[in-house]
Symmetry: C2
Subunit: 454 residues, 2 copies
Amino acid sequence: MARVRPLSGFPEWTPTDRVVEAQVIESLKEVFRLHGFAEIETRVVETLDRLAGKSEAAKEIYTLGRLNAEPDSEAKLGLHFDLTVPFARYVEEFQNDLAFPFRRFQIQKVWRGERPQEGRYREFYQADIDVVGRENLPAHLEVEVAVVMARALAALPIPAVSMHVNNRQLVEGFYRGVGIDDVAGALRSVDKLDKIGPDGVRAEVTDKGVAATAADAILELARISATDGSFAAAVEDLWATTQTIDDIAEPEQLLKDGIAALVALVEGVNAAVPGTAVADLRIARGLDYYTGSVYETFLEGHEDLGSICSGGRYDSLVAGGGFPGVGMSIGVSRLISRVLGAGLAHASRGVPSAVLVAVTDEDHRATSAVIADRLRARGIACEVSPSAAKFGKQIQYADKRGIPFVWFPGAGGDADNAIGDGEVKDIRSGEQVPADADSWLPPEGDARPIIVRA
Amino acid sequence: MARVRPLSGFPEWTPTDRVVEAQVIESLKEVFRLHGFAEIETRVVETLDRLAGKSEAAKEIYTLGRLNAEPDSEAKLGLHFDLTVPFARYVEEFQNDLAFPFRRFQIQKVWRGERPQEGRYREFYQADIDVVGRENLPAHLEVEVAVVMARALAALPIPAVSMHVNNRQLVEGFYRGVGIDDVAGALRSVDKLDKIGPDGVRAEVTDKGVAATAADAILELARISATDGSFAAAVEDLWATTQTIDDIAEPEQLLKDGIAALVALVEGVNAAVPGTAVADLRIARGLDYYTGSVYETFLEGHEDLGSICSGGRYDSLVAGGGFPGVGMSIGVSRLISRVLGAGLAHASRGVPSAVLVAVTDEDHRATSAVIADRLRARGIACEVSPSAAKFGKQIQYADKRGIPFVWFPGAGGDADNAIGDGEVKDIRSGEQVPADADSWLPPEGDARPIIVRA
């Protein structure tokens, strides 16, 4: 037999670990649905011209070809590398079928030809939510989307998360107020704060022509953080001592609007899921693209994973303009890989069956099948023993598959007995009790596989 | 804005139609789980050498490449075109983690570069179940797998199905008994019966060296069908008058075993889901590969779709031998496309929300959010109105999204009132009644979107 080896970067789970993945995904769906998000699913392929528009991602795109294909006989296609590009296309294509603001969630695999490493896969699940308007989008949805994601994450078998939030207007108003014209360029440097430190950032931005006092001011701004609205006073104090330009009205308005939005965001999220949000003015990721709130989310004790759930407010989902929205995306596979790899949680078993119905002898297999169907009629997942071996062997089989209960048909399967009367054994405790197939229920935690936190 | 056009062969649904697809898939999963099948999911890529082994499929394989890739820098990969190739690889790879017989279901997209036409997609869902042993597999599982699929199909919003079943031993014993050596060759001709008719089949097999009397005998066999075990007598009668070879013991034993298995199958399936199974001795598809039972399933009134659920018993899942099993596969997307296209069923709405909580004015948005959370705490999907427009406008918004109920906070949102007291309006009937956010429930059929049969 040819040796089979895993493909690096393309994770697969055992049936037991797949229970964890499937239940995590189902849990996310349930929270999204409770909040009125509709599910969509897009095809996994997009045309290459659409995919490659985001140039930094182009080198990671998997293209599709055909064995023995005639050249140029097919549209040039690639696998999507995120769920935003297909969502934007979907909204354009289906705009006349959608009611705006359109609230959608989408949980699908995406593909990136990155060099594989822990937590970086080539095939992985993302879970996205977005709310998209047609011409405009109320600001309160920036709070709501963060609340929904905070709740979705709180429902998962993971440690607490810390959602770091910032606001583009606040930062832009402040930067312009201290005399910085190339706000996006300065933000790209501030985004490297973790890597190159304050001195590195200072050197970079002054190289780009930012005055030393302005560089100090934006580094000071990046130090401000708070879990409530108290950051506002710190920003206003800093602003009062550092703003330098003459025509201050417009930056000041941006700053004020940004502060108000960020106060509403951090307080709104913490009211819904206490202890989750932090206004963190060093967050610069995506501020060149996002136009309002931005979000980055870290898993406590697992900050090395980087952000597990990011997003922000944008002015236009599609290239031609229009469709302003706000969205966040969870890197689901990365999260599940850590949950399983670090033993944070596991599934109670890998099979759905709560019960193995034993078979007394092959002549009485139909009796066992009837019992199984009576259990199934009440939602109890079960299976009939594949062999009529000695009961000890059948119990071993259940044990090996992780099935907690074995059902023994009444009186050794004697057809004179009422068919549903039998005995059921909890093979973990060894306890065996009389039971009726029309009324017996497994304990709630045993009915289906569940996720057990460490 | 660039014009967006659907890609032929890559279907996508509106949110409302996606409800149908998602609920069909969830319904299949639930039936599979009730019968003790564990879910697995495999990566969508396989190495090309593994995929292209099935030569007739090779020309339909989508290969993966990379923009700007160095030649030969990557493993040669393609997208899987069914769920059997990846399942076989998975069983080989994870065999030490699995308990045999291993009962698995798998519902994933597959890709085939076929010429698109109605019901033939390039990207589509399949739903497979298989039971696989390590060295052997009891024959009763051939009945069980068919029963599970019959139940899974009966639970879907589709017309009744007709499962046509046959048995390789029966056919092989009979063919050999009338002197046919190249059984597989003769079966390939009989498989064309619908296309070329009895005369065409007779001409083909006699061309291949089959005696005219033998050709007549196998055409006569192909005419036999029954919804119970009565076909057995017809086969035995035909056998008595047509068997010609001297050394009859082995073919006769094959025939007898095959008849017994087919009787058990057709009667077992019809006992579980009456009116489903037909022993149909003309079924030849896959008999060159399958070694016991074979199944083909047709949708009543939609026979033009071809078989919507096929499979059979095989001796060895993997190339090296071992892992005998039995499995069936549903072409899910083809089925859903017909359900939607022919108006057999539709979703009651496209959004999960049962309730839109109206907002009296922006100062009272928090009140509406609290009401929404009280409803969600009891599992009621809802959303808060995005705008505090006049109530008439908010009702219009709910109507446009298909949300059946609008909740009005008490006394125009007056904070002095108990927050959860309000009124709820069924916007379809116009009926408006006082309601308490901690106890009101929508009618069962309105709680979540449901599938409505035509």
